[in-house]
């Protein structure tokens, strides 16, 4: 099982702060594609520029997923 989290504008677009998934693909990039394939807001939210993190570290789309991971999809950051 992995925990998937959505933040800021992305969370508002998806109407969800996150979800748990028992089944997940081998990489975070494939997970993003699978989520976008839900269509509607999902396609829109995950089709644009999205940052990805595993266990609170930024990663690229090829990063592998494993059981117990905390996975996050983040809009481009705007702090400071």
């Amino acid at each position: 099982m992995i925990q998937v989290r959505y933040f800021a504008r992305l969370r508002d677009q998806l109407g969800s702060p996150g979800e748990e998934m028992n089944e997940f693909p081998p990489t975070i990039g494939e997970l993003a594609e699978r989520l976008a394939a839900r269509g509607g807001n999902w396609a829109e939210a995950l089709g644009g520029t999205v940052l990805m993190a595993i266990n609170q570290e930024m990663v690229g789309p090829d990063a592998p997923l494993k059981d117990g991971d905390e996975v996050a999809f983040l809009p481009p950051v705007t702090g400071g």
Partner: protein, 161 residues
């Protein structure tokens, strides 16, 4: 190197933090600092708009890790004696301070450059997001700026300055 990284809702006291940074360390000759403030006339879409309040969201846990990495990267590039990074979250009013970065070194160039480096990288890598509320009550997430990406990118080549 001493480091102090905080994410908090409370305001910070620039004078107190500056004094604390160099207290008792007579090798510090230069302290550079940056304070970012909630500014009016922010760009919303194609229009200039007055904002009423700003709300800062972050990714607890990841934020502290990201700030720690940025400070480590600065300490690898410049000889620093101390760094403080304080970033506020929650609801802030117009004119309120959002972020404080303080860097202490023997010499001013290291202090200046590392302070600017930390801000530039923070702007593109630390998981904070700003939402503005306009006087009509509308709320909008602030868009990332292309200029911030460029500012961060200029530190990544060899030719820093």
């Amino acid at each position: 190197m001493r480091r102090d990284i905080r994410v908090q809702t409370e305001p910070f006291d620039v004078g107190e933090e500056t004094a604390r940074l160099s207290a008792g360390d007579f090798g510090v000759g230069a302290v550079a600092s940056f304070v970012g403030l909630v500014r009016a006339h922010n760009r919303v879409g194609d229009e200039q708009a007055e904002i009423e309040t700003m709300t800062l969201e972050h990714y607890p846990g990841m934020t502290e890790k990201a700030l720690g990495r940025i400070v480590d990267a600065a300490a690898e590039r410049w000889p620093l004696q101390a760094v403080t990074v304080i970033h506020r979250v929650g609801e802030l009013q117009l004119g309120e301070p959002i972020v404080l970065v303080l860097t202490a070194s023997a010499h001013r160039r290291a202090a200046f450059e590392s302070c600017q480096f930390i801000m530039d990288i923070l702007k593109t890598e630390a998981p904070f997001w700003k939402k503005e509320r306009l006087p009509d009550g509308k709320e909008r997430w602030v868009d990332a700026r292309e200029s911030d990406g460029k500012a961060a990118a200029r530190w990544l080549g060899d030719g820093v300055e």
